[in-house]
């Protein structure tokens, strides 16, 4: 059994990983609360935005332009999807809406591989200026980007939580996510609120994409399917609580990394998100049935 000294650096890296999962997980849950759609294309949209930013930087554009385009791309694509496929699917259950976003994921994934092929064994990377500075915690260094990643997760939790609860627009969004038709009859400008929700969520996906591309890797496959692992955190929170998602994500990251020095378990540590989610859901559901909507029984 490794000593406490051995575990120490993994706590730092575990928090960093937790921050990554939190960014992705919280973003997805926030979108769910605002639009009623579990936006599984969150990772793909962010990845494509990051790749576009990479191409722009490579072509000589200034960094801030590239980042702006990445965020704008996230917003535009998500808004477009929401406007096109939101209304026809509005009356269907959350499962159908989530599966529909899987369709968008596939489309984006195919486009990404067509446009940014894995030719010649080269690799792409996004570097943010905050990569170079940092501070020491114990024996390892923490970069500012990691701090920003974690901070972005916290900010997302706090800001969107407050927004959804205390502002008129936020309340309208939550109402719409709950039941679109009744909200419409109450005189809420449904299309506009919907558009605002999708646009906001898209912007979050773009920002998260940029950060994740720096923190994890600029690779379409990795970033697109990172959402599966971060779903674990969202599932533990039963898609209801943004705060719980954040906490769960940090916990998953910590456990994943703390298992690393344990020889017998180390190879299986990538299972951590899945196992934790499955266990949590099974424990939570042992006395009653859990469903998301009346339609699902």
């Amino acid at each position: 059994m490794p000593s406490w000294q051995d575990f120490q650096p993994f706590i730092v890296s575990g928090l960093a990983l937790g921050g990554v999962y939190a960014l992705s997980g919280v973003g997805t849950v926030v979108l769910y609360q605002a639009t009623g759609v579990l936006y599984l294309a969150f990772g793909a949209v962010g990845a494509m935005g990051a790749l576009i930013a990479w191409s722009l930087t490579n072509a000589g554009a200034p960094d801030w332009v590239a980042w702006l385009v990445c965020v704008a791309f996230g917003g535009v694509v998500t808004l477009g999807y929401g406007m096109l496929f939101g209304p026809p699917l509005a009356r269907r259950g959350p499962l159908v809406k989530a599966v529909a976003t899987l369709g968008l994921t596939l489309v984006l994934f195919g486009v990404m591989d067509l446009l940014w092929t894995a030719n010649g064994g080269q690799s792409r990377a996004i570097t943010l200026p905050t990569d170079n500075g940092g501070f020491m915690v114990g024996q390892v260094q923490v970069t500012w980007t990691q701090v920003i990643g974690l901070g972005a997760g916290v900010a997302l939790v706090v800001v969107t939580g407050a927004f959804l609860r205390y502002t008129k627009l936020g309340t309208a969004m939550r109402a719409m996510a709950n039941d679109r038709e009744i909200t419409a009859t109450l005189g809420v400008p449904v299309r506009r609120v919907e558009a605002a929700a999708w646009l906001g969520c898209g912007v979050i996906a773009g920002v998260a994409g940029l950060l994740l591309a720096d923190l994890v890797a600029l690779d379409a496959t990795t970033l697109t399917f990172l959402v599966i692992s971060s779903l674990a955190a969202a599932l533990i929170a039963r898609l209801r609580s943004v705060t719980l998602t954040f906490v769960a994500a940090i916990a998953i990251g910590l456990v994943h990394d703390l298992v690393t020095p344990i020889q017998s378990l180390s190879n299986y540590r990538d299972m951590t998100p899945f196992v934790l989610a499955a266990v949590a859901l099974l424990v939570l559901s042992r006395h009653r049935v859990i469903s998301l909507s009346p339609e699902e029984g």
């Binding site: 051995d6 650096p9 993994f10 730092v12 890296s13 575990g14 960093a16 990983l17 990554v20 490579n58 596939l106 994934f109 195919g110 990404m112 591989d113 092929t117 894995a118 030719n119 010649g120 064994g121 080269q122 690799s123 792409r124 990377a125 990569d131 940092g134 020491m136 390892v140 260094q141 970069t143 990691q146 994890v216 890797a217 690779d219 379409a220 496959t221 990795t222 697109t224 399917f225 990172l226 692992s229 994943h256 990394d257 690393t260 020095p261 180390s266 190879n267 540590r269 990538d270």
Partner: protein, 442 residues
Amino acid sequence: MRLYRRALEPRATVALAAAIGLGVLAGCSSNTPSAGTSPSPTAAASTGAATVRTSQCGIKPGVKATGTPIPLGGIVTNQPGTSFTDIANMANAYFTCVNDNGGINGHPIKYYIESEQTNPGQIGAEAKQLVQTDHVVGIVGNTSIIECSIDHSYWQKLGFFVVDSGIAPECWSTPNSAAVNMGPRYSSDGAVQYALAQHVSKVVFDQSNVPGTGYIAAGPAALAAAAHTPIVQLTENVPITDANSVAIKEVDDAGPNGAVVLNFTPPEALVILQAAQKLGLENRVKLWGCSTPCNTDFLAKALGPKWNHKLFVNAELTPALTGSPAMNLYQAILAQYGKAVSGGIGSFSQMGFVEAQILVHALHTVHGAYTVASVNAAIKAVKNFNTGMLCQPWTYGNYPMHIPNNEDYTTTPDNGHMVLAQGCTQISSVDPQIAAYRKVAG
């Protein structure tokens, strides 16, 4: 993913599990060829010089071949995250050049390229397609994570002697495949050998969890055992989402006087090394090593000056910056015929060039009809062929196993470029497979 490929996928996902043993020596970071190195293929700007240059590939300069085509085939992996099409495309460029300059005794070469997404059923089917539908007489340019494993008995049954850029163990351990590269095991051997020569007290060998990890690990294990140095064997699932823990684990296991040797594709190796740097760990071990995939200027540039002379990479092919006739021809053909080679100058296209060279050399020795029997007999008979791109002359030979490329360079990053750290060095016979090959090949 089974979306050919695989969309989605670690396999596609995962499908990033790619091949090691291939490296990119890139002067180009994205798509621009030859970042400022001299014998510039853009002497093709004056078409006269270029035509003369490229026409060296054929025996009748300027004469287009118009006879019955000689069909050849190749199978390469092409899926999200892993694409070896550059190798086949470069071979095709070479063949096109030959066709424009006399062909093979007046016959043009027709090269069928099949791309696969690491699906065993698909790979088996494509082999049969090449043989039964396209009627190819020779197989060249295969570069696939698993093709050698899947098709080797088929090639053996039909009498095809394949010239490939291998990855799977069977590319070196069967009679019907000879590779121009060293592959993950022997390239890792080279990297570990260099580390051991620097008298490190411990070696940590970390590789991506792709088919064949045990086979690959056996080489470094043997080398470390012979040097009485403890070795820790690690594997990581790719694609790596948490490079931090990987870097910390490697450094912890190696200790201050140890070496960490990586065997990953360039993107994954980059992610690990960058994580080590961001965590401030790059100086916590005596040296870092990497198998051939790390041999790329792009990696050197991305890593930055902190890694100067700290990372030592095994290089299977001669650096593309040397101005030998073969290099000049390679760059000229790339410039004129290599539009489909998206990676530009680098190990991938170099390998494609070498494989095509070997095939053309073999085809020229065929008298009479170009059949499966005659062509493959000629391929098998290739002996001591000087490719101009490898440390040693290349031989196929009639052996039960083939490791014709078993001498390598070591390079190291230096301010954005990979420079030579050690010249051609033989891979040690301590690796039992290398010893076995040297015994049969003499």
